[in-house]
C-alpha cells in the first residue's frame, strides 16, 4: 500500500483530518485516565479486611437516659447474653468500632512513652476473648486474650493496657528484625506486652489519607462502658438475614430504654462495606459510563466524516477502479488512511494523557498513570477507528468503475 498518495489526499482535507486526530487524542487522554481511576478504585474496594464479612452483622446501641457506668456494664453483659441466645447466633462481642465504620480512635504506637515519638499510627479496637472468633481473625502467633484480662474502661479513662494483640503489619513495623511476640510497645505512656499477632485487620477508615497505615490495627482488652456501643454478631451463614431482622426487637424486648436507629442501627457487614465505598463505586460508575459514551461518540464521528469523504470522492474512486484498482485496494486505502490519522491522534493523545495525569496528580492526589493504560487505550482507539471506518470503506470499495464516466 502506497502511503504517499494518502498523505497527499489528507493534505487536501486538513481540517477534517485534524478534527478526527484531535478527537481521538482527547478521547484517549480521557479514557485512559478514567480506566486508571476505575482500576484504582476497584483495587481499593476489593482489598480484604481480614474479617469474615459474610457472616457478620453490627448493632449500634445507644443507652437512653444516660445510665451510670456501672449500670451500663451490667446492661451490656445482659445484652451479650440475650444476643447469644438468639437462634442462629454463634458468637458476639461489644466494641467501640469495627472495619469500615468510619469512626474510631487512632493512636501513635512506638518504643517510647513520649507520644510525639511513635513508629506508626494505629487504629484502636476494644476487644475481649470472643473477638478473634467472632470476626474470624487468623491468629498467626501467640495467644488470645483471656477473660480475666478484660478490664472496664469508663469515659475519658486512661487507656493503658497491660497486653495487646497487633496485626502482622504493625508487628513488623515495630520489630522489623524479628518476632514482636512477647516484646513491648507503647500505645500509652506505659508499656504493653504484645501477646498475639493476627494476620490482617483493616482500620475503620477507607480514606486514602490513611492508606499508609491501613493494616496497622491494635486490639486492646477493654470493656468500654459508654453511651454508645457496637455489638458485632456472628451468625450461621444461612441465618444472617433472619438474625438481622430479629435482633432489634429482641433487644428492645429485653430492655426498653435504648436507641437502635430503625434506619441503620442494624447492618450486615456487606451493607457496612457498601456504604464505606459508596463514593468509590460512584466514581467508577461515572467514569465507566462517560468512557463508554465517549468511545461511541468518537466512533460515530469517524463514521460520519469517513462517509462524507467517501461520498465526496466517488468519482476519484471510480477512476481508480477503472484504471485497474481492485475493491480490496480501495478498502485498504480507506483503512490505511484512518490508521494514519489514528496514529497521529494516539501519539498526541498519549502526550495529553500523561499531561492530564500530571494535572490530576496535583489536583486530586491520584497516582502516576502506568504505561499499560496508555498502551491499552492506544490499541483500543486504533481498533475502534478501524472498526468505525470499515463500513464506509466497504461502501467505497463497491463504487463501480463506471462512476468515472458520470458527471455529477
Amino acid at each position: 500500500m502506497q502511503i504517499r498518495p494518502i498523505l497527499a489526499t489528507l493534505r487536501h482535507h486538513k481540517a477534517g483530518t485534524l478534527l478526527i486526530a484531535m478527537q481521538i487524542a482527547l478521547t484517549l487522554a480521557i479514557v485512559c485516565n478514567a480506566m486508571f481511576i476505575i482500576h484504582q478504585r476497584l483495587a481499593r474496594m476489593s482489598k480484604p479486611s481480614g474479617v469474615d464479612e459474610s457472616n457478620l452483622l453490627v448493632v449500634r446501641n445507644e443507652w437512653a437516659g444516660k445510665p451510670a457506668p456501672a449500670q451500663i456494664g451490667s446492661l451490656m453483659a445482659a445484652d451479650l447474653d440475650t444476643l447469644r441466645k438468639v437462634p442462629g447466633v454463634t458468637n458476639v462481642y461489644a466494641t467501640n468500632t469495627y472495619p469500615f465504620s468510619n469512626t474510631g480512635l487512632a493512636n501513635g504506637i512506638g518504643h517510647s512513652p513520649d507520644k510525639r515519638n511513635y513508629v506508626s499510627v494505629t487504629a484502636v479496637y476494644f476487644a475481649n476473648e470472643n473477638t478473634l472468633a467472632t470476626l474470624g481473625l487468623k491468629l498467626v502467633e501467640g495467644r488470645n486474650f483471656t477473660t480475666n484480662e478484660i478490664n472496664d474502661l469508663g469515659d475519658h479513662d486512661k487507656i493503658a493496657p497491660d497486653v495487646i494483640i497487633v496485626t502482622r503489619e504493625l508487628a513488623h513495623r515495630l520489630y522489623p528484625d524479628g518476632s514482636a511476640l512477647g516484646k513491648t510497645a507503647y500505645i500509652s505512656d506505659k508499656p504493653s506486652i504484645i501477646i498475639g499477632i493476627v494476620d490482617r485487620l483493616q482500620i475503620p477508615w477507607v480514606d486514602s489519607s490513611m492508606a499508609q497505615w491501613a493494616d496497622c490495627s491494635t486490639l486492646l482488652p477493654f470493656r468500654q462502658r459508654v453511651d454508645t456501643t457496637h455489638y458485632v454478631v456472628r451468625a450461621r451463614p444461612e441465618q444472617l438475614a433472619d438474625v438481622a431482622a430479629r435482633v432489634r426487637a429482641t433487644l428492645y424486648a429485653a430492655h426498653h430504654l435504648r436507641v437502635i436507629r430503625p434506619k441503620d442501627g442494624v447492618q450486615t457487614f456487606a451493607q457496612v462495606r457498601a456504604a464505606a465505598y459508596e463514593s468509590d463505586r460512584g466514581i467508577a460508575i461515572l467514569m465507566g459510563v462517560i468512557s463508554t459514551i465517549l468511545l461511541a461518540i468518537t466512533a460515530a464521528g469517524i463514521v460520519g466524516l469517513a462517509s462524507f469523504w467517501v461520498g465526496q470522492r466517488r468519482k476519484q474512486i471510480g477512476v481508480r477502479r477503472a484504471l485497474g484498482a481492485t475493491r480490496h485496494d480501495i478498502l485498504s486505502y480507506f483503512l490505511t488512511e484512518n490508521l494514519l490519522i489514528g496514529i497521529a491522534g494516539v501519539v498526541l493523545g498519549g502526550v495529553l494523557a500523561i499531561g492530564l495525569n500530571l494535572w490530576l496528580m496535583k489536583q486530586f492526589e491520584i497516582g502516576r498513570l502506568a504505561p499499560g493504560y496508555v498502551l491499552t487505550g492506544v490499541a483500543m482507539l486504533l481498533l475502534l477507528g478501524q472498526g468505525a471506518v470499515f463500513a464506509p470503506a466497504l461502501r467505497a470499495s463497491r463504487v463501480p468503475p463506471v462512476e468515472a464516466t458520470r458527471s455529477v
Partner: protein, 438 residues
C-alpha cells in the same frame, strides 16, 4: 430572510436525518453530563450565608507547633476548650460563639413510645444572631442564660412537628438524656448547606440539627462531643471529663463576627498577642501562628467540595469538549457536501455574509435540538445522580428553571461555537470552482 434560512436549514437537516440526529444527540449528551455534574457542584460549593460570609471568621491556634506538622499532623481545625474559653472571656469580636456537636437521647413522656436519638449543638446565644437563624416560635436564649448555664433548648421545626404536632411549644419541656430542658425557641427549618459551622466534623450536608442548647450547660453535664477530637501528643492528661477538657485536645469550633476590616485586623492582632502570651507562660515554644479565615476561605480550607464532585465536573467538561470537536467534524462534512449549492447561491448574488447567516441558522437549529435533548438527559441525570454521589450530596442536585435555561443556553452557545469554523469554510467556497465542475 432569517425565516427563509431557517426553512432551508430545516429542509437540509431533514435530508440527512441520521447525521442530524447524531449531531443533536452528541450535543445533548455532552451538555447534559456537564449540567448534571454542575448541578451537584453548584449545590456543594454554594455560599450558605452570602449576606454575611465575608464577616464571619473561624480562628485557629497553633497549639502543637511546627514539629507536629513535620510528623504529618495538620494544624487543628478546632480550638482546645481552654483557648475557646479564653477567647470567649475576652469578647473581642462583636459576636462570638464556641460550638460543639452533641448526640443525645430523647425520652418521650409516654412509656409506649421508643426513645430516639437527637443531634444538635452546644453553643452560645450569639450563635443565632451571628448566623441569621430564623425562628418559627420564640427565639434564642439570652446571654444571661449562657452565664447561668440554664437548662433551655432551641428545637428544630421537624422535632417540634414530631413532638408537638407543629404547635407553639415555647415554654414546654423535653427530656434529653437524664435532664429536662425548657423550650425557648423553634427554628424555622434552618439548615445551611454546606453546614459551614460544622464542616470540621461532618461532610456538611447532613439532615438539619434537632436541638441547640447552652454550651456551658452541656459542659456541666459532661456531654461528649459527637465530632472529632484531635489529641496529638497529649498523653499526660488527667483522667475523666475534667482532665479531658483541660487537655491539649482540640475539639471546640469557634466563630467570630467582625463587622469591618478594622475589626478584622484588630482581631488578628489580638489572636497574635494571645499566642505570644501563651509563649511567655511557657505553653508554646514557637512563633505565634493564628490563621483567621472567613467563611468562604474556611469552606475552601476544609475542602468541603468532595474530590469526587470536582473530578466529575472536570471529566464531564472534557467530555463536552470531545462532543464539540465531534460536532465540528460532522458539521464540516455536512456543510462542505453542499459546496455546489453554495456555489450556485453565490453565483446568483448571495454575499458571503448571507451564506454565513444561512449556515449559522442551520447550526442554531441543531443547537436548540441539542438543548432540548440536553434538558431531557439532564433530568434523567439528576435522577441517576444517586448512583454516583453520596446520598447526602446527590439529593441536593435538582433541576430548576435556572438549570434548564442554562442547559439550553449552553447547548446553543456551544453549538454555535462549534459551527463557527464549518460556517466560515462554507462562506469561503469559490463559486467559479463549483460551477466549473458541472
Amino acid at each position: 430572510m432569517l425565516a427563509y434560512y431557517l426553512r432551508l436549514g430545516m429542509r437540509s437537516l431533514r435530508r440527512n436525518p441520521i447525521l442530524t440526529m447524531l449531531m443533536v444527540l452528541t450535543i445533548g449528551i455532552g451538555v447534559a453530563s456537564s449540567m448534571t455534574t454542575y448541578a451537584v457542584f453548584r449545590a456543594v460549593s454554594a455560599n450558605p450565608l452570602p449576606e454575611k460570609s465575608a464577616r464571619l471568621f473561624a480562628p485557629q491556634i497553633d497549639i502543637w507547633g511546627p514539629q507536629s506538622r513535620a510528623q504529618g499532623a495538620d494544624m487543628p481545625d478546632a480550638l482546645t476548650y481552654t483557648d475557646a474559653m479564653a477567647l470567649l472571656r475576652d469578647k473581642k469580636a462583636k459576636r462570638q460563639t464556641a460550638i460543639y456537636p452533641v448526640n443525645l437521647t430523647l425520652v418521650p413522656q409516654s412509656e409506649r413510645t421508643e426513645p430516639f436519638a437527637v443531634n444538635g449543638y452546644a453553643a452560645y446565644a450569639d450563635f443565632f444572631s451571628m448566623f441569621n437563624v430564623p425562628f418559627l416560635y420564640g427565639g434564642a436564649w439570652d446571654m444571661s442564660q449562657d452565664d447561668m448555664h440554664s437548662s433551655v433548648v432551641v428545637i428544630s421545626s421537624q422535632l417540634n412537628q414530631q413532638l408537638f404536632q407543629g404547635s407553639d411549644s415555647v415554654g414546654r419541656t423535653i427530656r434529653l438524656d437524664d435532664h429536662d430542658y425548657e423550650i425557648v425557641g423553634v427554628v424555622d427549618g434552618w439548615n445551611p448547606r454546606p453546614r459551614f459551622y460544622d464542616v470540621n466534623n461532618s461532610n456538611g450536608f447532613n439532615d438539619p440539627p434537632d436541638i441547640f442548647l447552652p454550651f456551658m450547660r452541656a459542659i456541666d453535664l459532661q456531654m461528649n462531643t459527637n465530632g472529632n477530637t484531635n489529641c496529638y501528643g497529649s498523653a499526660g492528661r488527667k483522667p475523666g471529663f475534667d482532665g479531658f477538657i483541660h487537655s491539649d485536645c482540640a475539639w471546640v469550633s469557634y466563630w467570630a463576627e467582625l463587622p469591618d476590616a478594622n475589626d478584622e485586623a484588630a482581631y488578628r492582632d489580638y489572636l497574635t498577642n494571645y499566642a505570644a502570651e501563651q509563649n511567655r507562660l511557657g505553653r508554646f515554644h514557637w512563633k505565634p501562628n493564628v490563621p483567621l479565615r472567613n467563611l468562604v476561605e474556611w469552606l475552601d480550607y476544609e475542602k468541603v467540595v468532595p474530590t469526587e464532585t470536582r473530578i466529575s465536573l472536570w471529566l464531564s467538561l472534557g467530555f463536552l469538549l470531545v462532543c464539540l470537536v465531534n460536532t465540528v467534524g460532522l458539521m464540516l462534512a455536512k456543510f462542505m457536501r453542499r459546496a455546489g449549492e453554495i456555489g450556485v447561491r453565490r453565483a446568483l448574488g448571495a454575499s458571503r455574509r448571507e451564506i454565513w447567516t444561512q449556515f449559522l441558522a442551520e447550526a442554531a437549529m441543531v443547537g436548540v435540538g441539542g438543548g432540548v435533548v440536553g434538558v431531557v438527559f439532564t433530568g434523567l441525570g439528576a435522577l441517576g445522580v444517586g448512583l454516583v454521589f453520596e446520598p447526602d450530596i446527590a439529593r441536593l442536585a435538582h433541576v430548576n428553571v435556572g438549570l434548564i435555561g442554562l442547559t439550553l443556553a449552553c447547548a446553543l452557545l456551544s453549538t454555535l461555537a462549534a459551527a463557527f469554523y464549518p460556517t466560515w469554510r462554507a462562506s469561503r467556497v469559490q463559486p467559479a470552482w463549483q460551477l466549473k465542475s458541472n
